[in-house]
């Protein structure tokens, strides 16, 4: 394999594609394969978002992709019993999780999980063959128009992922949990693709947990496409807990029809390099979107959230709330872009990004980007960067609470209103607990499912 340093990233990946195209296709579904050639052409045209790319201004994509990592396309035989090293039991969330191991659906005897109301969850590769009419209608439709070379890269290489479908009017009590595991004997890159579809009036709750189970370098470049049909209610929570040698880029595309309500929470507990792209299209009247995020970063971690809300219809509502605590030499970025199209009258769009820096070496770049073409619009944005409030800290201490505990109480309080956005109560309590542990430094950085320690 050629070292990437001597050639351009595009050349490396185009070459990789050509050499492995039959392996890629043989271990995926024809429907997914039909998108690849086009995606390769797109990648050649768009290129990697390197230096000078405005959207990735602070993210060093070059270094992330130049790592010497194994990329495999044949179905891996995993030679260990995953159950032995990994067991995820969330109290109150007593569903069997769906596993993605290195980007592939891990079949533990069950092809699909079938839930009440006709909800189906399983491998996207399988579903592309078994439910072609649904997959075809949505696959590549929302991420397809992306101007991001990394999305084209994913489309060219993605072979599998998770597919969830909630039929019209389906109700969902407990969320489907997806556990996304990276485990390998060598540094590895994976690119999976998830597709979640909530049909008209359906309810869909999904929790995705990202973990690294071995100490190697990992890179994930994944795409989530989510369709929220008319009047649907979609709750998505992502918990990122990977070790410091991991890099993760997640591109989420949320397509919302009229009267739909989608809540997205991204809780970034640990990770060396994290970039979360959230792209929302409000495509019908009275659609509502809540995109929130909480990041707790320390050491040399990098966390970058990029949110783009496209108000393409009138009478829609969007609210972004991102909050973070950065310690040590952690660096972070937040970009919140709101586009209100000419016809999207009576839009309500809000954004706020609040940061707490615990040291002088921690850094955050916060950028609001508002483009408003309609005239009857309510829009607001705000961004704050601060330290712990010394007066409040003194108040707590003057009552007998020691310094460390007082500090934790305040950080936890700061984080709490993001957690309050989580609609599923059992999950909210669990995440409260996780965040508390994380702030106390009791959450291990790797080799553990964050949902099991407790």
């Amino acid at each position: 394999m050629s070292t990437i340093t001597n050639i351009s990233l595009e050349e490396h990946f185009l070459d990789l594609y050509r050499k492995n195209s039959s392996d890629i296709a043989d271990n995926s579904a024809p429907l997914m394969n039909s998108f690849r050639e086009n995606a390769i052409a797109r990648l050649e045209e768009l290129k990697f978002p390197l230096n000078g790319n405005e959207a990735y201004k602070y993210a060093d994509i070059g270094s992330v992709f130049k790592q010497d990592l194994v990329k495999t396309f044949a179905s891996q035989k995993i030679s260990f019993n995953i159950r032995e090293i990994f067991h995820c039991d969330v109290p109150d969330l007593n569903t069997e999780p769906l596993l993605l191991v290195n980007g592939r659906f891990y079949n533990n005897g069950l092809k699909y999980k079938k839930l009440p109301g006709g909800i189906i969850a399983g491998s996207l590769l399988q579903a592309a063959n078994d439910y072609p009419e649904i997959v075809e209608k949505h696959y590549g439709r929302y991420a397809g128009e992306s101007e991001d070379g990394l999305v084209a890269l994913n489309t060219a290489f993605a072979q599998d992922g998770i597919f969830i479908y909630a039929p019209p009017g389906a109700r969902m009590e407990e969320p489907v949990q997806i556990v996304n595991i990276m485990i390998s004997e060598k540094g590895l890159m994976a690119q999976h693709r998830n597709l979640f579809v909530a049909a008209e009036g359906a309810e869909l709750n999904v929790v995705i947990c990202d973990h690294t189970l071995s100490a190697h370098s990992f890179l994930t470049n994944s795409v989530n496409e989510v369709y929220a049909g008319k009047g649907s209610q979609v709750n998505l929570t992502k918990i990122q807990n990977e070790h410091n040698g991991s890099s993760q880029i997640t591109h989420s595309y949320y397509h919302q029809e009229g009267d739909s309500n989608l809540v997205s929470n991204i809780i970034s507990l640990h990770g060396g390099f994290i970039r979360n792209n959230v792209n929302v299209k409000l495509n019908g009247e009275h659609a509502e979107n809540h995109s929130t995020g909480l990041y707790l970063s320390d050491q040399g971690q990098y966390i970058d959230n990029f949110v783009f809300i496209d108000h393409a219809s009138p009478n829609c509502f969007s609210n972004q709330l991102y909050k973070g605590v950065l310690d040590d030499t952690a660096r972070g970025a937040f970009t919140g872009r709101i586009l209100v199209r000419r016809d999207a009258q009576k839009t309500n769009a809000y954004q706020s990004n609040n940061n707490m820096l615990l040291t002088n070496n921690a850094k955050i770049y916060s950028r609001p980007q508002l483009e408003i073409y309609a005239d009857d619009v309510k829009c607001s944005h705000g961004s704050t960067v601060g330290q712990l409030d010394e007066n409040a800290l003194f108040y707590l201490r003057s009552r007998g609470i020691n310094y460390r505990e007082a500090r934790l109480m305040m950080m936890f309080a700061f984080a709490h209103d993001v957690i309050q956005n989580i609609k599923v109560m059992s999950l909210r309590n669990r995440i409260d607990d996780l965040v508390n542990k994380r702030l106390r430094g009791e959450l291990s950085r790797c080799n553990n499912c964050s949902l099991q320690c407790g």
């Binding site: 003057s398 020691n402 007082a406 936890f412 700061f414």
Partner: protein, 251 residues
């Protein structure tokens, strides 16, 4: 209980307390009065352990030990309580969680078992009734959105919960309505014992009708320029601080 000797305190190289001497014995109530900006809150904050100030000279003994080298939390655990002139709002930290954490930290320090939920709630209820503070306040975040008077009442509620040995109340009476004033006084008098001491900082003689001080001190421009019995407060009310100033010049 408390002995302050020649305490000098500066902030940004500007001297605010210019040699304070004060002795408070167990069982006593002291009132400190004085014009705006004279250094009353500075004194209270220094005693509670706020590290914003430079202590340039002097000594403070509390229960026979050097107070100034202790952290704010240690002081609280040793039974010192400051009722803030401007209580801080702490959004996201619930009153109950805050009080319970503090309470149990103090108990741990004293070698006591933490309170169980029901013991804690019982105590809360008892003190809430005493101070007549409503549950709608104690169910919220610390001081968040409380009115001025509610914040002051909340300070007294906390005092009642922690049962301190030395309470320093910094203008707890300002902004209180007449009923609340009585309740605050009741809270203080309720605690009164031969073992406990109180320092009330106030601008108003009115409070001292309810909480009768053993001593009244006038803090003026960083110094205690006059001390006396409870009648001194009446005299001040009548003659104003101008009178103290001319007196102190004559001293």
């Amino acid at each position: 209980m408390l002995v302050i000797k020649n305490l000098r305190v500066s902030i940004d190289n500007q001297e605010i307390l210019k040699g304070i001497d004060l002795e408070v014995n167990a069982g006593e109530v002291h009132a400190i009065m004085g014009p705006n900006g004279s250094g009353k809150s500075t004194l209270a904050s220094v005693l509670a352990g706020r590290d914003l100030y430079q202590i340039t000279s002097g000594k403070v003994l509390y229960k026979g030990e050097d107070l100034l080298e202790k952290s704010p939390e240690e002081r609280a655990k040793e039974g010192l309580f400051l009722g803030f002139q401007y209580p801080i709002e702490i959004p996201g930290v619930s009153m109950a969680n805050f009080m319970r954490t503090a309470m149990n930290e103090i108990r741990k320090y004293k070698g006591l078992e933490p309170l169980t939920s029901s013991e804690f709630l019982k105590k809360m209820r008892e003190k809430k009734d005493l101070i007549e503070i409503s549950s709608s306040l104690t169910n919220r975040s610390v001081n968040e959105g409380f009115s001025g008077g509610e914040k002051k009442k909340n300070e007294i509620f906390q005092m009642a919960m922690f049962e301190p040995e030395l309470a320093i109340l910094d203008e707890t009476d300002s902004g209180l309505d007449i009923d609340a004033l009585r309740i605050v006084a009741r809270g203080v008098n309720n605690m009164k014992s031969p073992l406990n001491s109180t320092i009330v900082i106030t601008h108003y003689q009115r409070l001292l009708e309810y909480i009768v001080p053993d001593f009244v001190h006038v803090l003026y421009n960083g110094r205690i320029v006059k001390s006396g019995g409870k009648d001194l407060a009446l005299l001040l009310e009548e003659k104003g601080y101008e009178w103290v100033r001319s007196e102190s010049v004559n001293m």
